[in-house]
């Protein structure tokens, strides 16, 4: 891939993500109706001036639901990513900083989490939790689970980074100068681990959006009537067979574009690194 191509794909990805972010921020103004407002006289309606993307089987405006759904996914996936990065920084950073037996114990816990396929663990744990909770609670539960269960791979990367830093000359010098404990971590370890932490945070966002979509498509994600990019995909399960319409694929297309843009930016980050 040439440098010129890299630039235009990157610009396109940034532009699309900025547009998606703008649309979600101003969803209240852009959406013609609320995400749960029903137009009972127009269920499964085709695209029209009143309903840009038509309506679903309950007569709710699909365009409005896509906008509100993007808001939930685009705001809560980064929060879950921040939680998982924090957990990874705590476990991985502590393991790299302390070394020896503590490191071996932490890495055993990491290996334990990595030994069970993540999607298997996530779906199993979510299926065990109550499904008849309020929509708001279901949103929090879903993204909290993503954050709590998705830290292991990042912890390994951060542990390796912390271990390398602890063996570096400047940290030896800092320790010889009397720095230790919290001061050493705050002034030397954390600032130098920041690029790795940011990279892990960025990598986690699309992973969590896809994981939420998987849960949503299986009916284990965000509960009705709250929309998310994952829960909007549930319409595909029944709607495509009963009332086939190209507009039903719009949530999937939006999901692909959003996650694809994140992937492009992450690839660029890797190339730059």
């Amino acid at each position: 891939m040439t440098g010129r191509e890299t630039t235009w794909t990157q610009k396109l990805a940034v532009g699309l993500l900025a547009a998606a972010l703008f649309a979600t921020l101003f969803a209240g103004y852009l959406a013609p109706s609320g995400y749960q407002t029903q137009f009972r006289e127009a269920t499964n309606a085709r695209s029209s001036t009143g309903h840009l993307l038509g309506t679903d089987d309950l007569g709710r405006d699909r365009f409005s639901r896509v906008l509100y759904g993007m808001r939930i996914s685009l705001f809560l996936a980064p929060l879950a990513a921040a939680l998982s990065t924090l957990l990874a920084a705590l476990v991985g950073g502590l393991a790299g900083y302390l070394g020896g037996t503590a490191e071996r114990c932490c890495l055993f816990v990491v290996d334990l989490f990595l030994s069970i396929p993540w999607l298997f663990l996530l779906i199993t744990v979510r299926a065990l939790l109550p499904l008849n909770i309020s929509p708001q609670a279901s949103v929090l539960t879903t993204f909290l689970l993503l954050g709590i269960l998705g830290w292991a791979a990042s912890a390994r990367v951060i542990c390796a980074g912390a271990r390398n830093l602890m063996a570096s000359d400047f940290l030896w010098l800092a320790r010889a100068s009397g720095f230790s404990g919290a001061k050493l971590v705050r002034l030397h370890l954390l600032p130098n681990l920041r690029p790795a932490l940011l990279a892990q945070f960025a990598i986690s966002i699309p992973v969590f959006i896809i994981a939420e979509a998987n849960l949503g498509a299986l009916g284990l994600g965000v509960s009705e009537p709250l929309p998310s990019l994952g829960s909007l995909l549930r319409e595909l399960q029944s709607g495509v067979l009963l009332h086939p319409s190209p507009w039903q694929f719009v949530p999937l297309a939006v999901l692909l574009v959003v996650v694809g843009c994140f992937q492009i930016l992450i690839n660029q980050l890797e190339v730059t690194a």
């Binding site: 290996d111 030994s115 999607l119 779906i123 199993t124 595909l236 999937l252 996650v259 992937q263």
Partner: protein, 334 residues
């Protein structure tokens, strides 16, 4: 000629004697070398055995803790003590009481796990509460289906990824590279459940869906490795000496990157196993993934603990095998 004759014969005899002597020495040297190499392989065997025993101990420890973790999660899940059968109006009060007592027997998680492990040692995996069948039978029925799907998906994903990466490396086609990047990006951004749904609608085999979801990760890694190999000194020398692209790939690039590819094989096994769960659920494939889903929905503790252990064993065992193969290859080429 006459003067030169005996000298030549003498020389030949000397050569012959020297030759015999040399061949004997060579044989002895070879024997000595064989003994030495046998001795060294014996001395190498000890660390290898200790490495293997450490790995096996680690596998056992991870499985024990994973099983305990799974059982604890299920026990702590809300509604564990509730049973759908209690809603059945045909059941008598004594039957409902018996159901409740059966549930409370499992409420002490340490006691449950201890009892489970002792029966596991005897080869008894218990019975599924929701399906009413022995767990061993359920696993025996469904494991081959999952393993078959897993092998097909892995083979398809690896073949597609390698073929595409090699084709791009050989052709240097920007269009092909762009298309492959776009395709891998699209599948990397697609949720497994959605792709499974599309495959159900199109009536395509579910193994292909799993392969397509894993292929981007393998393709991107292989493509990156091949790209890196272009500038390696020994590859440049081989090219300069006139070696063709296939010879460079098979004799110089592939052996150098085989350890990384073996590690990726272990990781890809785990990814396919994870991806197969939603695919089996949506495509109605009666495998381990669908069984795990049913067990989780019914809060079937014995079945779910067994399945967690099985999936953990499969993942750790695959990673261990790939690690051993990687280690053996690195030692052989060192």
């Amino acid at each position: 000629m006459g003067a030169a004759g005996p000298t030549k014969v003498f020389a030949r005899t000397n050569d012959f004697q020297d030759g015999v002597f040399l061949s004997q020495r060579l044989r002895r040297f070879k024997m000595g070398n064989n003994i030495k190499s046998a001795a060294s392989s014996l001395t190498n065997l000890r660390p290898m055995c200790s490495d293997l025993s450490i790995r096996l101990a680690r596998l056992m420890a991870i499985m024990l803790v994973a099983g305990m973790l799974g059982a604890t999660l299920i026990r702590l899940a809300p509604g564990f003590s509730a049973d759908e059968q209690e809603l059945n109006s045909k059941l008598s009060a004594s039957s409902i009481l018996a159901l409740r007592q059966a549930r409370t027997a499992d409420s002490n998680i340490l006691a449950f796990y201890g009892k489970y492990l002792s029966s596991l040692v005897r080869g008894d995996l218990g019975a599924s509460r929701s399906l009413g069948e022995p767990v061993k039978e359920l696993i025996r029925e469904r494991l081959p289906i999952t393993l078959q799907g897993l092998c097909i998906a892995l083979a398809l994903a690896w073949l597609t990824a390698l073929a595409l990466a090699v084709a791009i490396e050989f052709s240097h086609s920007q269009l092909l590279a762009f298309g492959a990047e776009g395709l891998s990006g699209a599948f990397l951004s697609t949720p497994a459940a959605v792709l499974a749904l599309l495959f159900v609608l199109l009536r395509w085999p579910p193994e292909l869906a799993a392969a397509l979801l894993v292929f981007p990760r393998i393709y991107r890694y292989c493509s990156s490795l091949l790209h890196q190999s272009r500038d390696l000194p020994y590859v440049l020398v081989a090219r300069a000496k006139g070696a063709g692209p296939w010879r460079v790939l098979l004799w110089h690039t592939l052996p150098a990157f085989l350890p990384q590819l073996l590690a990726l094989l272990g990781v890809s096994f785990s990814i396919v196993l994870g991806v197969l769960l939603p695919i089996e659920v949506i495509c109605d494939v009666p495998g381990i993934g669908q069984l795990a889903w049913q067990a989780a929905e019914a809060r079937d503790l014995p079945l779910l603990v067994n399945l967690t252990l099985l999936v953990t064993f499969m993942t750790v065992f695959a990673t261990m095998l790939s690690d051993i193969a990687r280690g053996a290859f690195t030692r052989a080429t060192a």
